[in-house]
Symmetry: C2
Subunit: 279 residues, 2 copies
C-alpha cells in the first residue's frame, strides 16, 4: 500500500505549491537539487515533475528550469444572454456564434481585452459524420464550412467553425462561399437571403483533449496536458410543422484560459459581482 517514490515526491511538491511555499512563477529546485534532496535518481524526480507538468501545475523550460505555472486572468464568455423575445426578426440572439464580426466578442472588450480575428477560411467538403447528424442531412452530403481564428490580446483565443448545407448556396445564399465576413452575421444573412428565421438553438458543452491542429493554434503543449472546451451550437428554424436545424457552429477554446458564464433571471453585472472562478 506504499506509494511509489515518484508519486510521494510529486505529492510533496504539489503540497508546497498549493500551500504557497513555492509561489506562483517561482522556480523549482533543479533536477540535480531535487535528486539530492529526496535521495532519488534523476529519472525518478523527473517522473514526479512530469506528473505535475501534465497537470499543468508547473512548466519546464530547457536551460532555465521548472517554474510554477502562473494562472492567467481567464477570458470570460457569456453564453446564453437573456432572451430577446421582442426583437424583430430572429427571436433569439446569442452571444457566441451568431455574429461574424466583432459583435461576437463584444464581451471581451468590456473586460479590457482587444479581440481580433482572421478572415474566414471557407471550404466546401463532405459532411463530417457528427455534423451530418446535427444538421439532419445524409452522410456524404456537401457542406460549406467557415472557420475563423480568434485572438484576444494577441493570444490565440478560439477556433470557430460553422457548417451550412451546400444547398443554401445553390438556393441563392452565394455569399456563404465568399471568404469575407457577412454583415450582421450569417444568421441575419440567411434570413435576408432565404427567409430562414432562427427561433432557437441548443448549445452542447464538453471538454476533451485537443486535436493536434487545435493544440497548435491554441498554443497548448502537444504533450497531452491541458484540454479544450468546445461549445457546439445547433440553430433551429420553424418549417414543415417541426423544428429544423439549419446551421451548426463549433467553438473550440483552451480550457485553462476561459470561463463560460450563463445568466438566468436577474443577476448583477459581471463587473459588479465577479463570476465564480473555481480554483
Amino acid at each position: 500500500m506504499t506509494e511509489p517514490m515518484y508519486r510521494q515526491i510529486a505529492d510533496d511538491l504539489r503540497a508546497q505549491i498549493e500551500s504557497g511555499a513555492i509561489a506562483q512563477g517561482a522556480k523549482l529546485p533543479t533536477e540535480s537539487e531535487l535528486r539530492v534532496g529526496y535521495g532519488a535518481a534523476r529519472n525518478t524526480v523527473r517522473e514526479a515533475v512530469k506528473l505535475l507538468s501534465s497537470r499543468g501545475l508547473v512548466e519546464s523550460r530547457p536551460g532555465l528550469g521548472t517554474f510554477v505555472t502562473r494562472s492567467a486572468r481567464p477570458f470570460v464568455t457569456t453564453l446564453a444572454a437573456a432572451p430577446l423575445p421582442e426583437a424583430g426578426g430572429a427571436a433569439y440572439a446569442g452571444a457566441l456564434g451568431d455574429s461574424e464580426g466583432t459583435e461576437a466578442v463584444a464581451g471581451l472588450n468590456e473586460q479590457g481585452r482587444t479581440p481580433s480575428a482572421s478572415g474566414p477560411l471557407v471550404t466546401v467538403q463532405t459532411t463530417p459524420d457528427d455534423v451530418a447528424v446535427w444538421l439532419g442531412i445524409s452522410p456524404g452530403t456537401q457542406v460549406v464550412s467557415r472557420r475563423w481564428e480568434w485572438f484576444a490580446d494577441g493570444r490565440p483565443w478560439s477556433l470557430r467553425t460553422s457548417y451550412y448545407p451546400f444547398e443554401f448556396v445553390a438556393s441563392g445564399a452565394t455569399d456563404l462561399v465568399r471568404a469575407e465576413g457577412l454583415p450582421g452575421g450569417s444568421v441575419a444573412y440567411l434570413e435576408r437571403r432565404l427567409g430562414l428565421v432562427q427561433v432557437g438553438y441548443r448549445e452542447s458543452i464538453l471538454a476533451r483533449p485537443p486535436a493536434s491542429d487545435e493544440a497548435k493554434f491554441l498554443e497548448l503543449p502537444d504533450d497531452g496536458r491541458g484540454c479544450v472546451v468546445t461549445v457546439a451550437r445547433a440553430s433551429y428554424r420553424q418549417g414543415e410543422g417541426r423544428l429544423i436545424p439549419f446551421r451548426v457552429t463549433v467553438t473550440v477554446l483552451p480550457a485553462d484560459r476561459i470561463v463560460l458564464v450563463i445568466n438566468s433571471g436577474e443577476v448583477p453585472d459581471l463587473a459588479d459581482h465577479t463570476a465564480p472562478e473555481v480554483a
Copy 2:
C-alpha cells in the same frame, strides 16, 4: 527539427487507432513487441504509450496489456432550462443545483440512467477565499457546506457542494446543519424559513485538472490525464435595493463522461434531435 523517436512512435500508433486499424477495445502490441517493431528501447516505447495514455486514447493494465479506450455514452445534463416566469415563489428554477432530491437529476432518468446520491456531508467551516468573494462576505467568516456525492448507473457522476452563510442558521434555518435532504430543495427551504426569494443565478463553467479528492471519487486516473468540468452557481435574491448572493453551489463532473446542454428559444426535444457531441 526532426521529431523525437517517442513522438514518432506515438503518432504512428495514434494514426492506427484513429484510422481504426487498431479497433476500440483492442489490445496494442506488448511493449516487447513494440520494442522490436520500432527498433527502440523499452523505455522509449513506454514514453510513447504514456503520451497516448495521458491523452486518454489508450489504457494500460498491469498483467494484461494496453487497450484502446472505449468511448462511453456520455451523461447529458441540461443546464439552463427555459425560464419559468409564471411559477409561484422563486422566479427561476434551475435544472442543476436547486433541488436536493432526485428532481435534480430527473434528466438522467429520461436517458435511461438510474441516479442515486449519498446523504449530504454537512460541515461548518471557515469560508474558502473564492466562496467568500461570490457570497460577498468577509474572508474568515463561517459558512455551512453541504456536499453530496452523486452516482449514475452505479458509477460516480458528480460532487456537489453548496455553501451558505452561517448566519442563516442563527437566523432560524437550522435544518441547514442537519445531514438530511431538505424537502423541495434548499432554495425552497430558505424561502419558507427566511423569506429569501431566488430571483436569478449566474453559472460559471470551467474545466481544470482534478484535485486529488475529486480524482479519487470520480475514479479519474491520478496521473494527470483527464480533467473535470465545474459548474459554479451563485444564486441571487433581491435586497437593499440590489441583488445579493445568498448561496453558492459548485458541481464537479468528470469531463470525459458528460455533456452540458443549454437550450435557448424553441428547440426540439433532446430525444428527437441528439445534442451535438463533438468527437
